[in-house]
Symmetry: C2
Subunit: 236 residues, 2 copies
Amino acid sequence: MQIQVLTESISSKNRPYVQPAACAISARNRRFNGKVGSTLDMMGAAMSFSRNGEIYGEGEAADYIYKVESGAVRTYKLLDDGRRQISAFYLPGDVFGLEAASNHYFSAEAVTTSTVLVVRRSALVALAARQNDVANELWTLTASALGKVQNLMITLGRKNAQERVAAFLLEMSGRACDKHTIELPMSRQDIADYLGLTIETVSRTFTQLENDATIELPTSRRVVLRDRGALKRLNA
Amino acid sequence: MQIQVLTESISSKNRPYVQPAACAISARNRRFNGKVGSTLDMMGAAMSFSRNGEIYGEGEAADYIYKVESGAVRTYKLLDDGRRQISAFYLPGDVFGLEAASNHYFSAEAVTTSTVLVVRRSALVALAARQNDVANELWTLTASALGKVQNLMITLGRKNAQERVAAFLLEMSGRACDKHTIELPMSRQDIADYLGLTIETVSRTFTQLENDATIELPTSRRVVLRDRGALKRLNA
DNA sequence: CGACGACTTGACGTGTTTCAAACGAGGTGG
DNA sequence: CCACCTCGTTTGAAACACGTCAAGTCGTCG
């Protein structure tokens, strides 16, 4: 990992994504939910990353485990011709980087300006060796990451564009403070690279859902779910 | 989008898939590789499943952990209209069913006649509570399952048919006893449902690779890799 | 106001799916 | 021993969903 402060090279002009107030509070509370969550809080050092800042790169030694405090993080892998697959988005309270392999299989970047708790893996493993419940929680966290990826796998393997976007919206809604109105921290390109589509197809699907009165799009980054039932039906 | 009905009847007349002799030996040896591997062997009871036999169903309580002794196993999930996504194939030596959630997210079936070691999860967890190395190995196994799914996810999200089939062949080759000649235990339909394609596309891609002199197909279930470099290039 | 980046929309091309038919290896029965 | 059936697989032709390329819109900021 590299300790980096100023990755945000270029345009700082875009207004930074602001975590909605209600979510910020819920994120603070989440700090002390769960065994390892709080353990991480005790052991960790907070770091800040600006938009698109690299948190770690593919192939680097996996010496740390991370927990999002604020903002949003994406993990992804690039094929050699530039195709990108995003494997997950992490929001406040989420832990990432705990694949037990010695090196990272993905890269991680801040989607928006973010603060991340960083904990030495070795310290956590040492603690887990003595405290059985910590070991158990590490396992559970990994298993839940597995579950999320398996779910995405089904979306990528067997769903069409509408179904993929519906799945994405329901997933984001499940994590939002206001289940009805979603603030998207990520761009259309991010969504496309998450869902295995192109940016154009994602955009078209959004407007299609809007025309069907399934969602509303007050702005491109704000989605109002008007007909959750329709989305669930699409979610197969 | 594809609506596919599983037509394979349980009926039995097809000659059972026979594990090649060399592989069978290697499987026996694998019995005592690795800490948990051997622990499982000590604690487990062997069970036999016939072709297409169900090992567990989606939603069932996840009370057991499994290890393939002989044969092959697939885990999969069905969408409500019959679309199927296979999440993994397990060959002799592989451990599966260790998602820590209390209920199975997938179903598991024997691809061919198989014997599987079955171990009570609670017993293993209890042992892990006392033996730190067992807990560690459980975590590692889950993390390696995570890695495999992440890899499949990239295939499903960002690769075309040729690249998917190439990835599949290289993966199977990596597990085969004879790296040059692969015996496929699974049908074209299984491969299609693993790679997020249709059976016709898989078949066409196989013949295309054969025409390109990248592979040979002495029989539909036997694949000879003639140009591994070409496959690796396709693997992006 | 003008420039820039993110997003949307349009027209067209294409890879994969769909639907349909033929093939071929194994097993069965006459 | 050969005709015949079955089931997995292959092949063909046509349809379609998504990708590609290109232009246009919108909101933000200098």
